[in-house]
């Protein structure tokens, strides 16, 4: 993951997350490395709220 790709850094429940510009979620793990998170992860699911597109152009 390139630094240029990082859109947002957040700390949730003492875990460090970053969300990339293409909406992937990574967590800081041992040795300061970033690992892509599983979609089943509860904290990641909570973050999904912030990744939704606006609704006014919905496809029915």
């Amino acid at each position: 993951m390139d630094k240029k790709e990082i859109a947002l850094q957040l700390e949730i429940n003492h875990r460090n997350f970053v969300i990339t510009v293409d909406k992937r979620v990574f967590e800081k793990v041992e040795n300061g490395k970033w690992q892509e998170c599983s979609k089943e992860d509860k904290d990641v699911q909570a973050l999904n709220k912030y990744l939704k597109p606006p609704k006014s152009l919905d496809i029915i």
């Binding site: 859109a7 973050l47 597109p53 006014s56 919905d58 029915i60």
Partner: protein, 499 residues
């Protein structure tokens, strides 16, 4: 009475393509929307023809609807898409539409916003949608809304003071569209014109004073980060349910948006293809002031709405100011240089000083060039603050003639047929299901017909083969021993004629 922004050729074109039979009483409003769009954003007739045709091809219906909030609680009007066709709904349940001229204009503005979406929907015209998912994006929304406001309402002196006109929709986010134009060093009109067409035109507008290479290497990633944070901010402000992380996301995304605006503005000065002139310095002073004013006001407004602590607001503000320093240095350097323009006779020296100014290093090296100028931040701010500012954009804002627009809207409102949008969409889906069942039955029928046809042809083929095999020529016929001849036999077997 003919309006001064009306184009007669365009009017003929509109009457040819936009039919009352399809859009009913909305036709004159559509004509007005297209006329204003062509005038304000300076589209030529060829471009308008393409846009009108695309709109007509894709837009099936415009109407007043109820239960829109069931679909999206945050919207008053929407463009819904179904099987390649668009349906524009104006919410008739909103309480704000009273018999009041201003409110009728809000309704007209909402219609304009959705028509702009519809114009850019489909084919190569895809607005600023996400091309991969075909979902809308918040950047598309804020660009459309800012453009729709611009072609609906008149600009007031208060708007000029604020460097922007407040919007009706996405009111806490549209400031980003105003900021973006300033940070790219272009007029809002140019940015909006690109954005209401497609990504390619939008990027072309953003790169007006940059080389393609510099844009791709030094600017686009800042813009991608900004876009990502717009999504986060949108979901905090307009998301479906509140979340305990909202405040944290709000704070981080807002900080990031302001930072990226300053980053883009700063790179835009360094990499600008423009020569340093008085005009450029005046525009820079205007854009700097515009960014600072809008940033401060938008932060204050959001802080008020979310009851942010003063310390949180200050933290975001301080971070933004910190990120603005590079831009401040460059803008004040350019102004300091143009202030001494008449004293610099040597082109090579001017060239060297220009280069340093664009990098924000001129005032730092003032002594080298015999310049007496304050180096601290206050001196730099003052240099910008008291410099002449050029704002080409709103010197003569267009005076829209809204009288008949409001009358038409009011009449449409009074005679409106209200459609339950949720039910309407269900019918569309049911129709599709019915069509699917019909298709399935037809497919089944065809298959059976094919099955029936096959044995028939096989039977014919078999029969022909048999006929051929057992064909007897008359010469070969011999009387039968028991006196029965072949003819009689044939008659009995019923095959006489065929023999």
């Amino acid at each position: 009475m003919k309006k001064n922004y009306y184009n007669e050729e365009l009017e003929k074109m509109l009457n040819r393509y936009i039919k009352e039979e399809k859009y009913g009483g909305f036709k004159p409003l559509l004509n007005e929307i297209f006329q204003r769009r062509a005038y304000e954003f300076q589209f030529n007739e060829k471009q308008m023809k393409k846009q009108i045709k695309n709109f007509v091809r894709r837009t099936e219906k415009i109407g007043f609807g109820k239960n829109i909030k069931k679909i999206n609680r945050n919207t008053n009007a929407c463009l819904r898409r179904f099987k390649g066709k668009g349906y524009i709904w104006l919410n008739c349940e909103a309480n704000k539409y009273k018999a009041n001229d201003i409110d009728w204009l809000i309704l007209y503005e909402e219609l304009t916003h959705e028509v702009y979406h519809a114009i850019a929907y489909g084919g190569k015209c895809i607005g600023l949608y996400n091309i991969k998912t075909e979902n809308g994006t918040i950047e598309d929304e804020i660009i459309n809304e800012t453009a729709a406001i611009r072609t609906s309402f008149l600009r007031t002196s208060k708007d000029n003071e604020n460097f922007r006109k407040e919007t009706n929709g996405y009111s806490e986010m549209t400031f980003v569209a105003n900021l973006l134009a300033a940070s790219f060093g272009i007029e809002e009109r140019e940015l909006l014109k690109g954005g209401i067409q497609n990504r390619k035109e939008f990027e072309k507008a953003c790169q007006k004073y940059l080389s393609k290479e510099d844009y791709e290497n030094d600017v686009s990633f800042h813009y991608d980060i900004l876009k990502g944070n717009l999504d986060f901010l949108y979901n905090v402000l307009y998301g479906e349910e509140e979340n305990e992380m909202d405040l944290q996301v709000l704070k981080e995304s807002l900080t990031e948006i302001y930072s990226q605006i300053y980053e883009i503005a700063s790179v835009n000065v360094t990499k600008s293809t423009r020569e340093i002139t008085q005009e450029y310095a005046e525009e820079l002073a205007y854009h700097f002031q515009k960014i600072c004013t809008i940033m401060t006001k938008s932060l204050k407004d959001i802080g008020k709405r979310f009851l942010l602590r003063e310390s949180t607001v200050n933290e975001i503000f301080e971070k933004a100011v910190e990120n603005s320093l590079g831009y401040l240095y460059k803008v004040s350097d350019v102004i300091a240089l143009t202030n001494r323009e008449s004293q610099i006779k040597n082109p090579a020296v001017w060239e060297e000083m220009s280069k340093l100014a664009k990098q924000g290093e001129l005032i730092e090296n003032a002594e080298k060039f015999g310049m007496e100028v304050g180096k601290n931040l206050t001196s730099r701010y003052k240099l910008i603050q008291y410099h002449k500012k050029t704002n080409h954009e709103f010197e003569n804002p267009t005076q829209w003639d809204n009288q008949d627009v409001m009358e038409i809207i009011e009449q449409l409102w009074n005679e409106r047929e209200v459609i339950d949008v949720a039910e309407f969409e269900q019918k569309l889906r049911d129709k599709t299901i019915r069509q699917k069942i019909k298709d399935y039955i037809m497919q089944f029928k065809n298959r059976n017909l094919k099955k029936l046809e096959d044995p028939k042809s096989k039977f014919k083929e078999l029969k022909n083969n048999l006929d051929e095999k057992y064909k007897v020529s008359p010469e070969n016929l011999k009387p039968m021993e028991n006196g029965k001849n072949t003819r009689k036999h044939s008659k009995e077997s019923g095959k006489e004629e065929k023999m």
